[in-house]
Structure formats: C-alpha cells, structure tokens
C-alpha cells in the first residue's frame, strides 16, 4: 500500500509544517537575545551607581560614558540627581520587558501558526485517505493523534525548544557579563552548570518510568470507576456493591501509594537541587567577598556578580528537565507522521471526466473486504440502462451495499475483480471527484453534520439557496419535519443538536441527493425506516422531478421495488434472479416467495407463525455488512 512516504524523517515533517512560521521564530530569537541583554544591563547600572555615584569613585565610570556622565554634572551631579539613575533602571527594564513580551508574542504566533498548519494538513490528509483506511483505524486513536499528540509537538516547539534557546542564551550571556568583571567567579559559577544539568537530566530520565507507572495505575482506577458506572445494573442485580467498593478502594490505595512514593523522590530531588544551587550562590558570595576585600573587584561589581549568578540559578535547574522532556516529543511526531505517511486516494494519471448519463454496467464484479477471507460479491453482472430504474433485493450481508460503495469508488476493485462501467468507461479510469459528483447515494444510516438542518441539506451543493433546500426537502417529504421544529430549517442537528429519528435522517440523506441533481441516484436501503405511503410519495415526487435519472433502489419492500424496470435479486453475493416484477413472480423463485409473504394478509401471517417461530435461516446471513 505504501508506495512512497511523504515524510521519511521526523525532521522533514517538522520542516514542512514550519514553512509559514519560521519567520516568527526568527523574530523570537532576536527578541530573546535583546531581552536577555537588557535584563543583564540592570546589574551593570546598579554596579555603576554603587561605585561611581554613591561611592563617588569617578574612576569607575566606563570610558565610553564619561562624556555622558559629564553632561549630568559628573558623578557628583548624578549623586544629587539620583532619580536619573532610577529612571535609567526603569527605561532599561521597560526595554527588557518589551522584548520579552515580543518574544512571548512571536513564540505564540510561531507555534500557533505551526499548529494551525499541522491541524489543517492532518484534516485535509484524513479527508483524502481511502475509505478503507478510515475503517481499519480506530477513530479514538486517530483523534488522539490529531489532538494530544499535536499538542505535545506544539509544546515541544513553544516551550521546550524556545525555552532551551532562552536558557542557553541566558547562561552564555550572563557568564560573559560575569567574566567581564571576574573570570574566576564566572568559571566557578559555570562549573556548577554541568553538575546541575546532569543531575537533573539523570533524575528526569530515570523517573519517567515511575511517572508512567503512576499514569497506568490511575488509568486502572479510572476504568474501574468507569466500568462500575456503565455496568451499574449488573453490579446491583448481582448485589456486588461491596466487592466493587473493595476493588475500588484497593486500587485507590495502590494508585495513591505509587504517587506518594514518586513525590518522595521528587521532594528529595528538589531539596538536593536546592542545596546544589545554594552552594553555587554561596561560592560566588564567599569568593566574591574575598576578591572584594583584596580589591580585585569593587563593591558594585560584587553586587552585580551576585545578581548575575542568582539570575542563572532557575534557568539552569530547568534545563535538565527540558532536555529530558524533549525526547518524549519524538514519539508524538512519529504518531502524527504515521497518518501523514498513509497513502491518500489517487486518481490514475490520465483520469477521465466523461459524461455520466450512460448505462451503468456491472461486469463480473467480485469483491473481498481487506482483511476478510470470504468474498462478499461473487461474479455479479447486470446492467442499469440509462434513464431506467433498477431494484435490488437482498438479505443482510448479501453484498448489495458493497456494490454501491464500489460504484461510488469508496473501494477499488481488484485486478481480477471485474469492471464497473458508466457509459462504457471503467470507473477505475474516472476521476474520483467526478465519479462521486455524479453518483448520488442516499444511505440507510446517514451521518448528520453538527450543523442546522438546512446546512445539512445545502452542504451537498455549494451555494444552494433556501429555495432549492426547501424544494429538495419537499421532494424528500422532509418539509413537515422541518416545520414541526420551532426553529424550522435552522434547527441544529447532529451530535450537538436535536436527535433525528432514523426515518428523518434517511429523508435528509435523500434531500441531499435530490439537491445535487446527480444523473445517477442510488437508494441504499434509504427508505427502510420510512412508512409505505411516504416511501411511495417520495419515489413519485422524484420521478416527476428527474425523469432522465438512472436510479438504483435497494430495498426489502416489494412495494418499493415492484415498479422498477428491472429487479436484481442478490443472494449470498451472487445474482440469483433478474427480471421485471411480473417475470420474477412468474418464475416462482425467491422473489416470488417474498412477494407472497409480503402480499399475504394478516390472516396468513397468523397461520404461519406457528411454523416460523425460532426457525434458523439457512445460513444466508453470515458475515456482517461493513456499513458501520
């Protein structure tokens, strides 16, 4: 199936999705450099103030600023106007805060743009994956990949990667500033960094197993509660409340104790980290004091070094955790990559877009679902002449829906699986969108979108106005339903709206088909939940509306099928009988038998019930139809 992978590596996928957001991250880098720079200027000002202004030592004025200082009346003048220095602190802080704000903003812009493009890309890709893929993969798992894994990748970029960048810049710059004052102090402080980072990385790598353990135990506890609640009737009916209680409490203990064990480790980790960082601070304070006493550094420089050092403490402690967490993102990237690397539906290179109002022919069609052993369709052949109606009668699992999925190109036919042709052109050679735009499929169990009723109908035809929506509803006998809702056609339906009955859903699906005005119309048992009269009314209205359509109706009801120009009876994946209503009735086969059953009065049914009860069917119903 996988002919080529779109993204052979993790990196290639990240770079693909980063296309629109790289510029933001570039701004981010610039902003964080400037922000850190301004943050680190502050101790310099304080140092200058303490030495030159308050200490009155004019020699401490940096050469570059002597002119400026003179403008304010020298150090003595500044001492009289200390507010100038205070203002300078505020100004520098403002600049620092501004660039830090810019960093946050562009970091967010970058990562949100990235996530937007991942989400859109994933959604687009999923929509274009073959239908079989959607069936093979668990919905919950795919959604998990599209939501929490995407979130993990985003965090990797917006928190871990940029944080690491920030921390490294902070470390390098503050060590550089420190070394400008005293190389020895910078070295001493710098020596602690690998120790703290290694300690933290080591701890976090080792503890991840315990974290997983706690997560798993919580999962077990959660599912005990979940199963207890969903199975509440069983619990009560067997009087097993006490057992449930004991089970829950025991697992609750296991979970809580696992957490407590873990938090003991965490507490120890933090406390030891505190000691190491405290020693780092102490080293700089003590050695700095010695240097200050010896006159190697001034009191102001001493204050500056101490504050540079303290600015380092937290970033350094965070670095180990960030590095160890970054490795987790790899798993998520691969989980998303799995979806992006799945092969989408492909049209043949010279895909045709022929007129679709010709005969529909099924030629020796055989089909086996991927992963199944037994075929659902075996050598099925029949023709639907243009502008005629063909009825298909078949039991559950006889393969009649499969036939229609094949016609709509939801599954491809195998090499030796026969051909389906429209107007003489093999549908395998027709562009998928062209094929589906011309084959209208009304389903037995249609899916409703979480939108209004009108939008659910109108979605099938872009730009449809209310008038055409109303008209389609009228033909599908859905008008009364819409009128009965307080909000009419604007009533929200689907998952977050009003729950429609099976028949209402089917009629919505029919309205969708009507509004599309496709030349080929298929009722895939789409009238099963509609009563007989409405059934007839819909078919009548449809006939008047589109006389030229080629129609295929799948049904159990003889009354639905009897007026068809040709009726095909499918049994166990094969065509068992074929002909008009009268021909088939005369033939005395399955169709005639069913005809008799359905035509028979209630009297008849009452008589037969004695023999019918509990009789097993003759194995014609094996294998589930895959239409879920």
């Amino acid at each position: 199936m996988k002919t080529r992978e779109q993204f052979p590596t993790k990196r290639s996928m990240l770079l693909h999705f980063l296309r629109g957001s790289k510029k933001y991250f570039a701004v981010c880098l610039g902003a964080v450099l400037l922000a850190t720079f301004f943050d680190l200027i502050r101790p310099k000002i304080i140092s200058f103030t303490v030495d030159a202004v308050i200490g009155g030592d004019a020699a401490q004025v940096p050469a570059a600023f002597t002119g400026l200082v003179e403008r304010f009346g020298g150090t003595a003048g500044l001492a009289a106007k200390l507010w100038i220095v205070a203002l300078l602190v505020v100004a520098v802080a403002l600049l620092g805060a501004f660039f830090r704000f810019l960093f946050r903003l562009f970091n967010s812009k970058g990562s949100e743009t990235f996530v937007e493009s991942v989400r859109n890309g994933l959604f687009r890709h999923i929509e274009h994956l073959p239908y079989a893929w959607q069936q093979e993969n668990q919905t919950g798992d795919i959604i998990q990949r599209c939501t929490s894994d995407v979130e993990t990748i985003k965090r990797f970029l917006s928190e871990q990667l940029t944080n690491m960048m920030r921390i490294v810049i902070m470390i390098v710059m503050s060590l550089w500033f420190m070394s400008g004052i005293s190389g020895l102090l910078a070295l001493l402080s710098g020596l602690f960094i690998p120790v703290i980072v290694t300690y933290s990385m080591f701890f976090h790598t080792h503890i991840s197993r315990d974290f997983r353990e706690v997560d798993e135990q919580e999962g077990v506890l959660s599912s005990i509660a979940q199963e207890n609640l969903t199975g509440v009737r069983v619990v009560r009916a067997f009087g097993r409340e006490r057992y449930e209680r004991e089970r829950f409490e025991a697992q609750n203990d296991v979970y809580s104790n696992a957490w407590i064990r873990l938090s003991r480790l965490l507490s120890a980790f933090w406390s030891i980290g505190d000691v190491i960082s405290g020693l780092q601070v102490l080293t700089v304070v003590a050695v700095g004091a010695v240097l200050a006493v010896r006159g190697t550094i001034t009191p102001g420089e001493y204050i500056a070094v101490v504050s540079y050092n303290s600015m380092l403490v937290w970033p350094v402690r965070g670095l180990g955790r960030v590095i160890s967490e970054m490795s987790k993102a790899g798993v998520s990237i691969d989980r998303v990559r799995y979806i992006m690397n799945s092969q989408t539906e492909q049209d043949p290179e010279d895909a045709k877009r022929p007129p679709m109002d010709g005969d529909v022919t099924f030629e020796h069609v055989s089909f086996t679902y991927p992963g199944d052993a037994a075929p659902v369709l075996k050598d099925v052949s029949f023709t639907v002449k243009r502008g005629t109606t063909v009825g298909i009668l078949g039991g559950t699992g006889s393969g009649k829906s499969t036939l229609m999925y094949l016609l709509a190109g939801l599954y491809p036919l195998a090499e030796d699986g026969g051909h389906i042709r429209v107007g003489g052109v093999d549908i395998a050679d027709i562009a998928k969108d062209h094929l589906r735009e011309n084959v209208g499929l009304a389903l037995q169990e249609p899916f409703l979108f979480s939108r209004s009723l009108a939008e659910n109908i109108g979605i099938a035809k872009p730009g449809a106005d209310m008038k055409s929506i109303r008209k389609a509803s009228r033909i599908a006998s859905l008008e009364d339903t819409a009128d009965r809702f307080a909000k009419g056609y604007q009533t929200p339906v689907g998952e977050r709206g009003v729950t429609l009955s099976g028949g209402q859903k089917q009629r919505t699906s029919i309205a969708q088909m009507v509004i599309r005005e496709t030349p080929i119309k298929v009722f895939d048992d789409a009238l099963s939940a509609v009563d007989t009269e409405t059934d007839a009314k819909i078919r009548q209205a449809l006939l008047e509306e589109s006389k030229d359509s080629t129609v295929i109706i799948i049904s159990h009801r003889i009354t639905t099928l009897m007026h068809a120009d040709n009726i095909v009876v499918l049994n166990d994946g094969c065509v068992a009988e074929q002909g008009t209503h009268d021909e088939l009735r005369a033939a005395g086969g399955i169709y005639a038998q069913i005809c008799a059953i359905q035509a028979s009065g209630m009297e008849d049914a009452a008589d037969r019930e004695k023999t019918a009860g509990g009789q097993p069917a003759d194995g014609t119903r094996k294998g589930g139809e895959q239409d879920a």
Binding site: A79, L82, S108, E116, T230, V235, L279, A286, F449, E609
Partner: protein, 643 residues
C-alpha cells in the same frame, strides 16, 4: 438534560457558595500534618527572606570593612541554614503530597461508595461521564487545593510578611515606600487574572470544537466522500483552527502583558530603592549592604504578590469542584431499606447473609401505581398482576415504549408510587435490596462484561464458583464452544511464543492432543478486553447468560438483544433462553417472535402503559395492537429468512 446540568453549575458558580466547612471531615484527620506542612513552609520562606541578609553582612562587614575574619563561620552558617532549609523543604513538600493524595483518595472512596447506594433515578438523570468526573477529577482538584495551594499561600504570605518585617527593621522609610506599591500591584494582578480566566475558557471551547471536527471528519468519512464535500468541511475546519490561533495568540498577548506589568512593578520598586535608598546610603543613614538587601526584596516581592492572588483565584475556582462533589453526596437514594430491615439483613456493604431467606419466586403486583421520579405522569395505574413461581412473562412493544418499567419494579430499582410489589407474599420492602438482588439473575440487552478474564466475569455473581460449575453453566447455554475456541487460541499463542524462543522461524504446531476439557479450562483464563470488547456481541450475550445462571437465581430478568447478530449465535441465544427460563419465574423484554409465542403471559406496552395482556393466542384473536405488531414483525422476519 446535559445543558440543564451545565446551567445549574454555572448558576451556582456565581453564587457566593462557601464549601470549605464541608471539607472539614476529610481534612480533619490530617490536620496535624497540614499544620506541620504549613509551619515548615513558612519557615522555609522565612529562610528565603534571610539569604539577602547574608549578602548584607558580606557587603557591610567584608567588603565594607576590608576584612575576612569571620569568613569560615559565615560559610559554615550559610551551609547550615541551607541544609536546614532543604530538609524542611523536603519534609514539607513530601507531607504536602501525602495530604494531597490522602484527601483525594478519601474523597474518591466516599463519592464512589455513595454512588453505589444511589438509586437508578440518579443514573438516569446523570450520564456516566458526569459521575465519573465527580469521582475522579473534582476530588483531585480538591486534594491539590488543600495541599499545594494552601502551602503556596502560606509560603508567599509569610515571605511577604518576613521581608516587610525585615525591611521595616532595616529602614522604615524605605520599607514604607515599597509598601505603597503593593496595592497597585494587587489591582493589576486582579485585573489581568480576570481577563485571563475568560480567555482560557474561550481557548478550551474552541479546542473541544476542533476535536469534534476531527471526530466528524473521521466518523462521517463515508458521507463526506460520497457527497464530495471534502473542501466544504475543510474550509469550516480551517475557520476553527484560525479562530484557535487568534484566541491562543490573544491569550498569550494578555498573559505577556500581565507578566511584563509584574516585572515592571518589580523594576519600579528597584528604581525607587536606588533613588531613595541611594540617597540614604550617601547620607550614611543606611549601609551599602542594606541597600543591596532592599534591591533583592524589591525584585522578589512582586512574584510573591502575584502568587498570593493566583492562589486566591484558585480558591474561587475550587468552589465549583466542592459544590459538584457535595451535590452528589447530598443526593439520597429513592430506594432505601428501613432501619429494621437493615438491622435484620444488614446494609449494602455489610450484609447478614445468614438471615437471608430462600426466595421461592411468587411475585404479585398489587394495586401498583408508578411514576418515574423525573417523569410527569403515572405510567402504571392500579396495576394488578399475579406471577406465580415458574411463570414466563414477556413484555413487548416498540423501542422506547417503556418496557423496562415492570422489570425495574421487580428488581426494586424503583419503588411503586402507590401499592405494593409482593415477593413470596410479602412486601418487597420488608426485606433488603441485597437479599432480593442476590436472588435475581439479570441479562442486559447490551451485555456488560468487566475487563478481566472469562472466569472473573462469570464468578461475578458467585465468587466461590468452581471451574466445573462455570463450565457446566457455559455448556447449558451452549457457550462451551466459545471458551474452547478461546482456550485453543491461547494455547496456540503460548506454543508459538515457546517455539519462537527455541527455534526461530519454525512454524508452531498446535498440540493436537489437548483435550476439550483442558482447552475449556484454559479458555476461562482468556482476557475479554475492556467492556468485553474482544468478544462479539453475541458471545458477550451468551457469557452473560451463563453468568446469570451460575447463581441459580429464583427470578430471571432478560432484556433480549436487538442488535443484529449472526444466525448461528442467534439460534444459540434462543435455545439458551429456553433452557434458562424453564422452571424459573422470568421477565423477558422480548424482541423476537419465538420467545413471545411461548410465554405464559404477554404484556403489551405502548407509550409507557400496558395496553394489552394475555397469552399469544388470545391476543392474536383480539386483533389489537399486539396483532399489528406481531404481523409486521412476522413479515420482516419471513422476508429475511426467505433471502
């Protein structure tokens, strides 16, 4: 219904509800530890406020006086304080975690156990997800609140307290100046916190819409493809992701402004210290070391203020969690045993099984009127029915017609509004619920299995059942084939694993000499998956039959499966029903003809009410609703069978 709950919760949110007193019973027993944790946390933060003073000493004494005389003592003292702080820190965070988990655990147990005693009206008005969140997540939040949030509050408050005391002792003028900044900071933080709460909520909402879109894009794939609306749904989806981007960026922007404001306040404080403090230093009112202490405090102060206000807003948030949990705990069961009954038969968790009488199986509805607690009309009015031991009762009607009502009354999941349900001639209320439930076998329409092995599931109703009994029960309902197959599959896998270890690549062969019995015993150990997901619906149904029959119940309640199952299993289930109902009082919510035809009494339900009753032949002769129902079903079935 869910909307109603939501509205209610939000309404309560805005009310000044103070739930903290109600937490007392859960934290009472840990109060000693909480006090230790708070005191230690306060001491730790006090030491944090102490470290700048070390700096001051170093500046004033060593740097200022150019001497290193006390340096060794200084270093040792510093290390000593550091170690003391670390040990206290370790202790307080460890105790804090313990309190968090213990309170959470206790509350989880309490809520879970309380839910076990609630009646079905509770489960009908609250969905599983809702109750589950009350048990699992609300309790977690409360646990976190009474531990970490409390500690953070103590820590930050005491830090602020310590530094102000320290500042006022060092220089009252400078301290007073910084104190002036506090109210402004508080106002700023509150302003931003409020805004952020709203923004975060918006982000969460869009996020759930995006998840919903993914769900729709996957589960609706067939419809999307056949309607060729990929582009339409894509466009809509992109609208949501764009909205998400805007909302997320706006949230970050506000948060960024917030943090920048706090930083600016800190720097403003620092500037004030430099300006006024610098002056004081020059005037020799304070020393240079004191100036540096003030500079440290100025920076540290604002973070603590932010922390305090953050905790206070968490305090408001946690009210909702407390309130939700308390609402569950305040719910009382509609069905309760009287004190006398409990005295004799024990309660749910402590039954006195030695006093349980044998249940014979005569049931009588005597002038029963019934209305669901959340319903608005009587669904039974003066209903009378005698069901002697061994009678098979079938209940038929359309889906949603209210066929479960009688069963709910027999099982005492609900109690009659008026009248009595007599069991063996005595009012059901005279004996305990557990007594009754111990004598009822119950098979659900959607069979519910627990995750675990086949054996664990079958023993659910009878913990002391032997493998022999279990296999006998399985055989009785023709489910022996299932476990034999499961057993052989398991053996095969084990054999494959073994050979894979020994000779890689060698094709494993099934040990053919395994007896049927051995395979079945092995099959009992097979895992059924979460909710029995590894088995088909039909198989689950048969296993739940076996589970019900194993307890040899006097009364059997069956809710027949409507979902389509394959013919062979369907036949097996039909046969199983025949076998298990024989000689037992049974109530069957029926969907299939054969069971209905053979029943001793058929009750026909329409719109929640029993409109016809009698034997099959009588009802057919009556040509009423049952007749119509039956005929229609008969035609459908006949058609299916002919095909």
């Amino acid at each position: 219904m869910r909307n109603r709950q939501k509205n209610k919760a939000e309404q309560h949110h805005s009310l000044p509800y103070l739930g903290f007193p109600r937490l007392w019973p859960y934290i009472r027993q840990y109060r000693g530890r909480i006090i230790i944790m708070v005191v230690m946390g306060m001491l730790c933060s006090g030491i944090d406020a102490l470290f700048p003073l070390f700096n001051r000493y170093a500046l004033n004494h060593y740097v200022g006086e150019k001497t290193l005389d006390t340096l060794v003592g200084f270093v040792l003292l510093y290390i000593g304080v550091l170690l003391v702080q670390s040990v206290m820190n370790y202790y307080s965070t460890y105790v804090c975690s313990k309190v968090e988990l213990w309170v959470g655990r206790d509350m989880k147990n309490t809520v879970f156990n309380h839910v076990q005693t609630l009646s079905f009206s509770f489960f009908n008005t609250n969905n599983v997800g809702y109750i589950h969140s009350r048990i699992m997540s609300d309790t977690d939040r409360i646990g976190t609140f009474v531990s970490w949030r409390l500690m953070e509050l103590a820590w930050s408050l005491s830090y602020i307290l310590f530094i102000f005391v320290s500042m006022f002792m060092l220089s009252a003028r400078l301290g007073g100046l910084l104190a002036l900044l506090v109210p402004f900071t508080v106002l700023f933080v509150i302003f931003f916190q409020r805004k952020l709460v709203r923004l975060h909520r918006n982000v969460r909402e869009i996020n759930s819409r995006i998840t919903g879109n993914f769900n729709e894009g996957i589960t609706g794939a067939r419809q999307i493809k056949t309607l060729v609306v990929e582009d339409v749904v894509q466009r809509d989806f992109e609208k949501e992701t764009a909205a998400m981007k805007r909302a997320a960026v706006r949230t970050t922007r506000t948060n960024g402004l917030f943090l920048a404001t706090v930083t600016m306040m800190a720097n403003l404080a620092l500037a004030l210290v430099l300006w006024r403090g610098g002056k004081l230093t020059m005037d020799a009112v304070i020393e240079i070391g004191t100036l540096s202490v003030f500079m440290s405090y100025a920076i540290g102060m604002m973070d603590s203020i932010q922390e305090v206000i953050g905790t206070i807003s968490a305090l408001i948030d946690v009210q909702v969690n407390i309130e939700r949990v308390m609402r569950v705990l305040d719910t009382r069961s509609d069905v309760t045993d009287t004190p006398e009954v409990i005295e004799k038969y024990g309660d749910t968790f402590h039954p006195k099984r030695e006093n349980f009488e044998t249940l014979h199986g005569d049931i009588e509805f005597k002038d029963v009127s019934f209305q669901y607690p959340d319903g608005d009309e009587l669904v039974l009015e003066h209903f009378n029915l005698k069901v002697p031991q061994g009678t098979n009762v079938a209940i038929v009607g359309e889906t949603g017609a209210g066929k479960s009502t009688l069963v709910n009354l027999v099982c005492r999941f609900y109690e009659p509004t008026k009248g009595q349900v007599l069991i063996d001639g005595r009012d059901a209320r005279e004996r305990s619920q557990l007594w009754l439930h111990s004598n009822i076998g119950y098979v659900l329409q959607t069979p519910h299995l627990f995750s675990g092995s086949v054996r664990e599931n079958l023993k659910y109703g009878k913990p002391d059942a032997t493998d022999k009994e279990i296999i006998a029960a399985l055989t009785l309902v023709s489910a022996d084939g299932i476990i034999e197959r499961l057993g052989r599959a398991l053996l095969e896998r084990e054999a494959a694993d073994a050979t894979a270890g020994a000779v890689s690549g060698a094709k494993s062969s099934m040990p053919a000499d395994v007896t049927r019995e051995a395979a079945m015993v092995k099959g009992l150990a097979a895992d059924v998956g979460e909710g029995g997901d590894l088995l088909s619906t039909g198989e689950k149904q048969l296993l739940s039959f076996a589970r019900a029959i194993l307890t040899d119940p006097a009364i059997l309640v069956l809710d027949e499966a409507t979902s389509s199952i394959d013919t062979v299993t369907e036949k097996a289930i039909q046969d199983a029903i025949q076998v298990v109902t024989k000689g037992r009082t049974s109530f069957m919510i029926a969907h299939r003809l054969s069971t209905v035809v053979d029943a001793d009494v058929i009750l026909v339900v329409l719109d929640g009410k029993i409109i016809e009753s009698g034997k099959h032949a009588d009802l057919m002769a009556k040509r009423g609703y049952y007749y119509q129902l039956f005929t229609r079903q008969y035609q459908d079935d006949a058609t299916q069978q002919a095909l």
